[in-house]
């Protein structure tokens, strides 16, 4: 297992280099002088010159890229053009909020998506199945930001049960996490249904039933356990969608997370922060995929990583 984790960690290096390359190109594609853009509009010529030297913009491109990589490795992402704080500090301060929202949303999505998919597969082509399938399609098609606003109208304005935005208590987490979970739950339900349908038609399920086991045991212990791998995969993959959705959800609920930071930075053309936040999002995505791969080995002993 340790060998596998090490191998898998090493395999992420090319992707990380790819992300760094993309960020490097992004910096070079900025309209005008990158040093001027990074220093901000109010910067003095001396400050711009200092940034130019700091970034090595007068050196050959490959030297610039090597220097850029070296700074990235040390998590030196520069300073925010707006606040002058180190970017890593800005990102670090927001990360726990986004992580809280993402974890709450994934838990909610699994809590509702997996049982919905199982019920749908156990009673295929009945009204329950059609309802779940239709609800999943609705979930995938619904703009997350609109759903968020409608939840605010219902629970904050009409029923006055939950706060419309901000942070500070567990009540503040409810609406944003439901919003964020909405489309992930749909994907999880669809995948669970498809996988369960396949597993339920396998010989070992028939054997379990013919042994006289209770239907509940057959479904949970024999079928669901074997259907878990594709479900875990889809949960991992949905994490990416969730990060994209976090940008919108955080905006609706004025949630001070990484997504909101990216939007504010784009509006203020604060490129160092945009770069840093996108890099962290990319890293998070890679780490989640890695974790999913490692979880496989625990869930399915048939998987051998030699």
């Amino acid at each position: 297992m340790t060998n596998y984790v090490i191998k898998r960690l090493l395999s992420t290096i090319p992707v990380l280099i790819g992300i760094s390359l993309l960020l490097f190109v992004m910096l070079r594609m900025l309209p005008g002088d990158p040093a001027q853009v990074l220093a901000g509009e109010m910067a003095s010529p001396a400050e711009i010159e200092s940034i130019r030297q700091q970034l090595g913009l007068d050196r050959p491109v490959y030297v610039q890229y090597a220097s850029f990589l070296s700074r990235l490795v040390r998590f030196d992402l520069g300073r925010s053009a707006r606040t002058q704080n180190p970017v890593i500090e800005e990102v670090w301060a927001r990360l726990p909020n986004t992580a809280l929202l993402a974890v709450a949303a994934i838990i909610l999505a699994c809590l509702f998506g997996i049982p919905a998919g199982v019920i749908s597969a156990v009673r295929p082509y009945t009204w329950i199945d059609y309802t779940v399938t239709l609800a999943a399609l609705f979930g995938i098609s619904m703009p997350v930001f609109w759903l968020g606003l409608m939840l605010v109208v219902l629970f904050s304005i009409i029923l006055k049960l939950l706060p419309a935005g901000g942070t500070g208590s567990w009540q503040h987490v409810i609406l944003p996490s439901i919003t964020l979970a909405s489309f992930v739950v749909a994907f999880i339900a669809r995948m669970t249904r498809a996988t369960m349908l396949e597993v339920l038609s396998q010989d070992y399920t028939t054997t379990a039933r013919s042994k006289g086991l209770k239907e509940r045991v057959v479904i949970i212990k024999h079928a669901l356990k074997n259907a878990l791998i594709p479900i875990i995969t889809v949960v991992g993959l949905q994490f990416g969608l969730l990060l994209g959705g976090a940008v919108l959800t955080e905006t609706v609920f004025a949630w001070p997370g990484l997504g909101r930071l990216i939007v504010d930075s784009i509006l203020a053309r604060d490129y160092p922060v945009i770069q840093g936040a996108i890099l962290i999002f990319g890293l998070l995505y890679i780490m989640v995929n890695l974790t999913v791969d490692v979880i496989y080995a625990f869930v399915d002993p048939r998987i051998r990583y030699d």
């Binding site: 090319p14 992707v15 790819g18 992300i19 390359l21 993309l22 992004m26 594609m29 900025l30 309209p31 399609l137 609705f138 995938i140 098609s141 619904m142 703009p143 997350v144 930001f145 609109w146 759903l147 606003l149 409608m150 605010v152 109208v153 304005i157 419309a164 669809r190 995948m191 498809a194 990416g240 969608l241 990060l243 994209g244 959705g245 940008v247 919108l248 905006t251 609706v252 990216i262 939007v263 930075s265 784009i266 509006l267 490129y271 945009i274 996108i278 999002f281 990319g282 995505y285 890679i286």
Partner: protein, 297 residues
């Protein structure tokens, strides 16, 4: 149950025949209620976009502050926005914008992604390796985040929205087409074409491309929905299509401020986005079921 084999090369006569794969697919598609509903909704949506100037003849962006945030009524079926503009009129005219974006984005993805996927899968080797690493790099970012990052570089506006979302779609098409080409290129009819001295370009366009059209068609329908959703998201954040253009996401974004006293202003543009995306997803799902059940996720 009759299954479609996308690997089979349909001959001319077979394609025209009563029992051709195309005809069988069409019959299956017509029997698929989801695809029919989706298709009908798309037709209504496209008709709204094409007939927008007839359906709502006024200027959808002309303000009328005396009617600011009026609730739905007989005069204004969906009410008015913060500048007193008809929400119905703006939604109707907005259908042109969202359809334009959806078509633009998918065309961008198709024009760049399909040829690159064909070349990558057919030739293999260094070209394939290079293209696949580029694809890995782009897919390392969730689609919406990639579009967001590209908008940050390119700037806001309709054109840049299409380009940004379009670029985020390209790696999906490359991966999809390459995967299909890898299996199709091993087929005997491709080998026969190669042995008879047919040029690679002809083999790619005449023998391989028609046989990878099913997944491309399905992805195109689903991609239209995604494009509308992404564009509305960017518009909502204020970094997509800019006001006063009646873009649905931007309409929602500006209505958000008035959600406490005029929730109708945010409700209806959202329903429009939802229905448009739903229609493409319904058609996409139906197409997938009808044309290639094995392609189902």
């Amino acid at each position: 149950m009759t299954e479609i084999n996308p690997k089979a090369a349909p001959g001319k006569n077979q394609a025209k025949g009563l029992d051709s794969p195309l005809r069988r697919s069409w019959v299956k598609l017509r029997r698929n209620k989801a695809a029919l509903v989706g298709g009908t909704m798309i037709l209504i949506y496209a008709a709204c976009a094409l007939l927008a100037p007839v359906l709502f003849s006024g200027n959808p962006s002309a303000p009328n502050l005396a009617k600011s945030l009026d609730p739905p009524s007989i005069d204004q079926l969906l009410g008015t926005d913060e500048l007193g503009r008809s929400i119905l009129g703006r939604i109707i005219h907005g259908s042109q914008i969202s359809l334009l974006i959806a078509v633009g984005v998918v065309s961008f993805g198709l024009i760049l992604g399909v040829p690159l996927g064909l070349v990558s899968g057919y030739y293999g080797g260094k070209i394939d390796f290079g293209l696949q690493r580029l694809t890995d790099m782009l897919l390392a970012f969730p689609g919406f985040l990639l579009a967001l990052a590209l908008v940050a570089i390119l700037g806001v506006g309709l054109k840049n929205t299409v380009i940004s979302i379009g670029i985020s779609m390209v790696p999906i098409y490359i991966r999809l087409v390459r995967g299909c080409v890898l299996s199709v290129r091993e087929e005997i009819y491709v080998e026969a074409a190669r042995a008879s001295g047919t040029r690679d370009r002809v083999i790619l366009l005449k023998h391989i491309l028609p046989n990878v059209m099913v997944p491309i068609t399905v992805q195109t329908s689903l991609g239209m929905g995604t494009a509308i959703l992404f564009a509305a998201g960017l518009g909502f954040l204020g970094i997509g299509v800019q006001p006063p253009t009646p873009e649905w996401g931007a309409m929602l974004g500006s209505a958000r401020v008035y959600i406490f006293n005029a929730p109708h202003a945010a409700t209806f543009p959202g329903i429009a986005i939802f229905l448009a995306v739903l229609s493409f997803n319904l058609l996409g799902d139906g197409l997938r079921d009808a044309l290639d059940p094995r392609f189902k996720l």
